[in-house]
Symmetry: C2
Subunit: 480 residues, 2 copies
């Protein structure tokens, strides 16, 4: 029978297909309906376990998370893009603003129903998971971008500027704590932890934002650019080391803090002196010999090492962020491995994860907590102290090393950029309970103001170079 | 004074740096200690808000998540690699096994303390968030890989085989429901939803695993390979369409289900007839003209569209997965955009997110629920029904279209691969409450057995081609 059928014309053949297909579908439907008729009479055991309502709640959680992530990603792009195009600001400013817009400060105050719909309290834990993973990955990338050559071979000006730009705001911040502590802290936090944290958090420089601004203005190769990058790198390492000490002190008794510091020192030594050479020899050297995309095994190895290092610092009693940063820092910052890791992780982290972190920060920032003239005066004082300490300290140190006033001022302005690094530090302080939500909000305002003022001040000092000609959005924000 | 200092020798200069640096540090320390002495006498307001204990719990949540993710990623790679090297199995088998090993079935039964330490109940929600985002992204990639040419221009054999491979297991599964429903279901689920779900879930073919097996054996260009790929693609679309109907029926009353189906049809029509041409014209065509890496704006646009589409299907009442798949399917499956999206998302999803999904599945799989000879008999019956329906249906349909017995059998074996697609479907059924944890466990065993048997049976039928010569791990598991 197969031969005559096979020799039929295509048209007839298609008809035959159609007929047999319909017959099959019809027969299936009839057969299923017969089965169903049998089955409808059966009785199942009584229901146990989760009720339908619980299951419904579960499913609507996913809907909330998808909605929140979608709105956050969209708004971050729109506001970030607007800041770049209309104000010539780095997009990160707009992304932070987008997070605050979605929080209780703006949307929650103007239209509480919309805020409750878009970012209900129930979505906060899931958003927290996304933003924590995002920040851990981001800190790994910051560590990966750290160029050891910027830390070595420092000139006088680098050392002087970077340390002055830490010491000055640190001391001013600690002094400011004398007034802030009795008003805005709580008795469960000691003055030492509070003042150390305030001092360190005023000393932060946003290395990624600074690198991006330098590249946008095409000054990364000049003396000013190189000094600024080197200072920021030294600042980064110093501030995070100081912060690790502060966290150790804040979370333990004084004797516990000594142990924490000893563990941190031992862990850093272990990573630099043992893990780094081993990794270099058994993993990095091999990966650098290959070409093409990174294998899944290599990627998994880096992820496991990253999670392990983050976990180690979390167990020591400082934060997972330090371990992630440290692992990035011991890997080479250029070559195939670094390039491949960045191309795998960076875009997803910057586009999908970090906006969630900004939104999570925005949900915790409540400008309504800063009310009355006294609160706003202290908020202004925090901004002033931050600027005077960081800008002033860098300015005078740079001038003393022989830079021109104009370039010294430009360096001071650059070092004064706080950006998202400050937000990471502030969230850490809030998580640990070292700072109260009111101080948190004031400091978020400070971070925004100091980052925002960088671009117009640089325009004034250096002319509007690079403005109106932003580099393609696709280029990653890293040291060239 | 600047001139004589500037002309000093470098050595003296370094000494001067060291001295001034030490003086600065010393002065800072003294200044801080003075501030601290003042501050220690201050009193802060009484503590309010979260207690230290709550904060501690919060911080240890992050540690648990990092630990869980690290262990999951590591074990998935190790067991996946072992399965590939020692047994010649696709790594996905090992990754699924790793998830089950970490769950209550193995680790929880043998060493409950270790399981409680590595994967405590408290980490399940965070792991759920990671695994849900991972599966949504994965289904987007599966949709993106869908080659429309495989669906068009079908030969007789493709249509016959693909539909036989759905109809046969569907009817057998629905029949099996007559025995399973009174024993293992619950009164809160109607027989219709239960039997439809059982039928559809036996009809699943794992397109990604199948594509990978074909490529590993280098038969993707042969008639057998092309037919298998085309059948699996048709199966994919048909099974997911059917599943959407089942979910619609399971979550609503009969009249509600009709509306759900109408909404689904309208949404698919909207995506295919309106969104697809608009996207093609305003987005895809522009992106294809550029070269180099995808811009952040384009990536954000795709993410927002993906989250929006997932949300739309979630709101309609079927699952977010359908929307993610559909958005992937309306984007072109080759060209710069597809290539760039894959290189940005795929590796992170496969290495970091999917193992979390397997672990989440493993946490819900409790082999202890299948106990006694009756349970194991039914478990065997499910495996047998799945194999007879899928393998038998494809075998006879392929033979009827004129394929050799050997190739028909090989095609049947390939279509019988369930892989991770089955796990996605089963988790959905468990989330909706259509199947009980016992049936879930039995079906997971079925998915493992049918995927596991594919490689040895193909070795028997086609010879051990490709074995011992696996392609580099780095190559993504997709249709060439």
């Amino acid at each position: 029978m197969a031969i005559p059928f096979g020799s039929l014309l295509p048209r007839t053949s298609r008809l035959r297909t159609f007929v047999s297909y319909s017959v099959m579908l019809g027969a299936t439907a009839v057969a299923y309906l017969w089965i169903r008729a049998q089955g409808e009479q059966l009785e199942a055991p009584a229901a146990t376990g989760a009720s339908a309502a619980e299951r419904g709640a579960h499913s609507s959680d996913l809907a909330h998370l998808l909605l929140a992530l979608g709105v956050i990603t969209l708004l971050a792009r729109v506001v970030g893009g607007a800041c770049r195009r209309l104000l010539g600001q780095p997009p990160v400013i707009g992304e932070i603003l987008a997070g605050i817009l979605l929080g209780p400060s703006v949307l929650g105050a103007l239209w509480p129903e919309a805020q409750h719909f878009l970012l209900p309290e129930s979505v906060a834990p899931a958003l927290g998971v996304v933003s924590k993973i995002g920040v851990v990955l981001f800190m790994f990338l910051v560590g990966l971008d750290l160029d050891p050559r910027l830390l070595r071979g420092n000139t006088h000006s680098t050392i002087a500027v970077s340390h002055a730009s830490i010491v000055a705001p640190f001391l001013l911040g600690a002094t400011l704590a004398l007034w802030l502590y009795p008003l805005y802290s709580s008795a469960s936090v000691g003055f030492t932890a509070f003042s150390l944290f305030l001092g360190v958090s005023l000393s932060i420089t946003a290395f990624p934002v600074l690198a991006r601004i330098l590249r946008d203005r095409r000054v990364q190769g000049t003396r000013l650019g190189v000094t600024a990058l080197a200072c920021a790198a030294v600042d980064d390492v110093s501030a995070w080391t100081l912060l690790a000490l502060v966290v150790g002190i804040a979370t333990a008794t004084m004797s516990g803090a000594v142990w924490t510091i000893a563990y941190v020192a031992a862990y850093v030594a272990l990573m630099m002196l043992v893990v780094r050479p081993l990794m270099q020899r058994w993993f990095v050297a091999r990966e650098e010999r290959y070409e093409g995309p990174l294998s899944h095994s290599a990627l998994a190895f880096v992820f496991v090492a990253l999670l392990g290092s983050a976990l180690a610092t979390e167990w020591i009693g400082i934060h997972a962020l330090f371990g992630a940063f440290l692992l990035g820092a011991i890997l080479p910052n250029e070559g195939r491995l670094a390039r491949e890791l960045r191309s795998r992780i960076e875009d997803v982290v910057l586009v999908l994860f970090l906006p969630s972190f900004f939104a999570f920060t925005g949900m915790r920032t409540s400008i309504g907590l800063v009310e009355g003239s006294r609160d706003w005066m202290f908020c202004g004082l925090i901004v002033l102290t931050a600027v005077v300490g960081k800008f002033g300290g860098s300015l005078f140190a740079a001038r003393l090393t022989g830079m021109s006033w104009r370039h010294s001022a430009a360096l001071g302005v650059l070092m004064n950029t706080r950006g998202l690094m400050e937000l990471i530090v502030l969230n850490l302080g809030l998580d640990l309970g070292v700072i109260s939500p009111t101080i948190f909000t004031m400091m978020v305002i400070m971070a925004l103001v100091t980052t925002f003022m960088t671009t117009p001040l640089l325009d004034l000092l250096l002319g509007r170079r690079g403005f109106g000609d932003p580099p393609p959005d696709a280029l990653p924000a890293r040291t060239p």
